[in-house]
């Protein structure tokens, strides 16, 4: 799709508790071998979009480390390329560090290519979506903007940091409001927006006059409310999760241990690409016992692991027992350690015979580099 620029939007990601205190959600570890950004970037790649931009809000080091030269997510390494959008002014003035200001600061990207359409996807909403038919439909109907939503019956508990769409009989958005958790059945925004370049340019121009602190979400709401443009809405019926808190991070991660759920996200014809690390396969000891868990390469496991997710290069010594926990990469767990309902961040060490027990409703978080 040569006439499309896809933008991975990191501006609207909620915090996952302390897990995102020193890294953006986009490059936060997920299911052992992924970062959240991989899902949107794989959607772009599998949808044959070669021109990709990343709207970085903060902690760019962590994002840049994961993205590298983008070779992992492009089909053709000459034609495919990425642009890091970074708003220097926004760093000094966080109130104005929005996606729309970021694009405005870097708007040469829009004018440097022949792309007529811009597609946005947010890092914190995980789903597999083929963008090609949506873009084709958008073009064929001659729309100014197309947005994607999912109709859910538990909007009081899910997507609570997101926006809801009211949709009229003709399939256009009539109103947008924040999800205040009052409704059960609602159309939640998946924060996928297909916008004509001219429309986006107009939004950027208007933006200063409307409210300089508005982001894309608020601007779309403003344009809808004032009937300045018509926003076409398309329903998505597949698996989608909005990662908006540490509790939900744990809950949705564990949900994917169910193979029936995992198969909705990991499909043979829709590979999820990620940065790879040349780590050896996972090695298990004679006394190891593993059930219902994701284990990443590079792990050396001699103890027990149940209902857990273990990232790259984790060492678990003999006699250790890990239950309902997420262990991020390069963590060492000593002998006879017992962990349950714990999230342990990278490079931490839990020395022999320690016990850390949270409970499913109140997961304990151990910060990066902790030594216990």
């Amino acid at each position: 799709m040569k006439d499309v620029i896809a933008l991975l939007n990191c501006h609207n990601s909620p915090e996952l508790g302390e897990l995102t205190s020193s890294r953006p959600l986009a490059s936060t570890s997920f299911l052992g071998r992924y970062a959240f950004a991989d899902f949107a970037l794989s959607n772009f790649c599998n949808s044959e979009i070669q021109n990709v931009g990343i709207l970085v809000k903060d902690h760019q080091r962590s994002v840049l480390k994961h993205m590298g030269n983008m070779m992992s997510w492009v089909v053709n390494t000459k034609i495919g390329h990425e642009t890091i959008f970074y708003n220097e002014k926004g760093q000094l003035n966080p109130a104005y560090n929005s996606d729309i200001n970021n694009i405005k600061e870097n708007d040469w990207v829009l004018y440097d290519s022949n792309a007529s359409y811009i597609v946005f996807e947010s890092a914190h909403i995980v789903l597999d979506i083929d963008l090609r038919p949506l873009i084709e439909e958008h073009k064929a109907r001659g729309e100014a903007m197309t947005v994607v939503y999912k109709k859910i019956d538990d909007a009081d508990a899910e997507f609570t940091h997101g926006h809801l769409y009211d949709i009229d009989d003709n399939g256009y958005v009539s109103a947008i409001h924040k999800n205040d958790g009052q409704k059960k059945t609602a159309n939640v925004s998946l924060e996928i927006w297909i916008v004509n370049r001219t429309v986006l340019a107009d939004m950027i121009n208007r933006h200063q006059m409307v409210d300089a602190a508005f982001g894309m979400r608020e601007m779309i709401g403003y344009l809808c409310k004032n009937k300045i443009i018509k926003v076409h809405a398309v329903e998505f019926k597949g698996y989608a999760r909005c990662f908006d808190s540490l509790e939900n991070y744990v809950k949705y991660s564990f949900e994917l241990l169910d193979r029936n759920v995992a198969q909705q996200l990991f499909k043979p014809d829709w590979p999820i690409y990620t940065l790879t690390h040349d780590t050896p396969p996972a090695l298990y000891g004679e006394k190891s016992a593993i059930t219902n868990s994701f284990i990443s390469n590079g792990c050396l496991i001699e103890g027990e692991v149940h209902d857990s997710i273990i990232c790259r290069n984790v060492k678990i010594a003999k006699g250790a027992k890990i239950t309902r926990s997420i262990i991020l990469s390069n963590v060492s767990i000593g002998t006879l350690v017992t962990l349950s309902d714990v999230v342990i961040d990278k490079y931490s060490i839990v020395t022999a015979r320690h016990t850390i027990a949270g409970d499913p409703a109140n997961v304990i978080y151990l910060k990066q580099g902790a030594i216990l």
Binding site: A262, D278, P281, Y284, I290, I295, V305
Partner: protein, 378 residues
Amino acid sequence: MSTKLAAMILAGGKGTRLQALTKKVAKPAVSYGGKYRIIDFPLSNCANSGITCVGVLTQYESSELNTYVGNGEKWGLNGVRSLTSVLTPKQTDEGSNWYLGTADAIYQNIDWLDRVEPEYVLILSGDHVYSCTYDAMLKKTIDENSDCTIAVYPVAWEEASRFGILVTDKNDNITDFQEKPKKPISNLASMGIYIFPYKVLRAELIADAKDPASEHDFGKNIIPKMMAEKKKMVAYTYHGYWKDVGTVASLHQANMDLLITGDSTTNLYTVQGDNRIYSEDTHSSPQYIGPKAKLTDSLINQGAVVLGEVDHCVVSGETLIEEGASCKNSVIMNGAIIRKGALVEDSIIGPDTLIDTDEKVNLEHDGIALVVNGKAAQ
């Protein structure tokens, strides 16, 4: 361009004794250690030795191997000042020839070497499993001013007749050489790893090519001839894990050596960045171990789904071991499916092989069984 040391990896052999495993791929491309192919080891060793120019000589069933080697990117051998070339037999002005032997394969690529302008040439075999750098061997070649340095490995006496055997004096000068002798007089086996000054090698190859009686083989012709000419021949003794995975049983054993209970000193889990073995990183989904799985003493790659019982096994990616299936002391290669109730022992289950419901494989423990049927891909 010019370079200190260029490596030539001989990867053209069929590996007949690996039976069905090498029916469609060359031996260096055979799967090993859950994630690797055998040729990852010499190529990673080259990368870790700082070698930047590598020629990979292929011939038998070369398309998969050629594709795999590509431009050397998987081993980082595609950087600036780097060159990885797949060198296959070709048509030339003088006609077309297959590689007639190991020496002929290098001889036919003298043009490539001339362009690379190496001071020294390292000749490697593409089908050995070991992790090392060649720095010390090169240093010895330079220090001793040798015409040929041969890496040697002390093998068990009863195995010595399978190898080229060297006899050395106390200064490591090679005094005698026997190719696969019936009655070995030493247990120092040639590893098929040589370093020559390029000028010496070039002259020897050209002379050998003109000799109609020659089989154009390093072990059979070049080395004995250089010995006869009283060239300075030096042995470099290698210490560490080294395996020529020539047979189904030795491939199985080399896999089992990687387990915690195995005896490989090839530690795949060394501190990061320290002589790692590089390979193709697939975009597999995470490795999943099921609710009723029993998993002990094994090496499992990403993309594997283990729902049954696995003990003392090496399991590659994209495999499925169903609930109620059991695998023991076996190698399960990429894409294989073991259905429920199936029992697999002492086996190598080849790529994309299907072991059907309740099927029994080698429960009688008759050596190491090899099953290759490709049915899982259908």
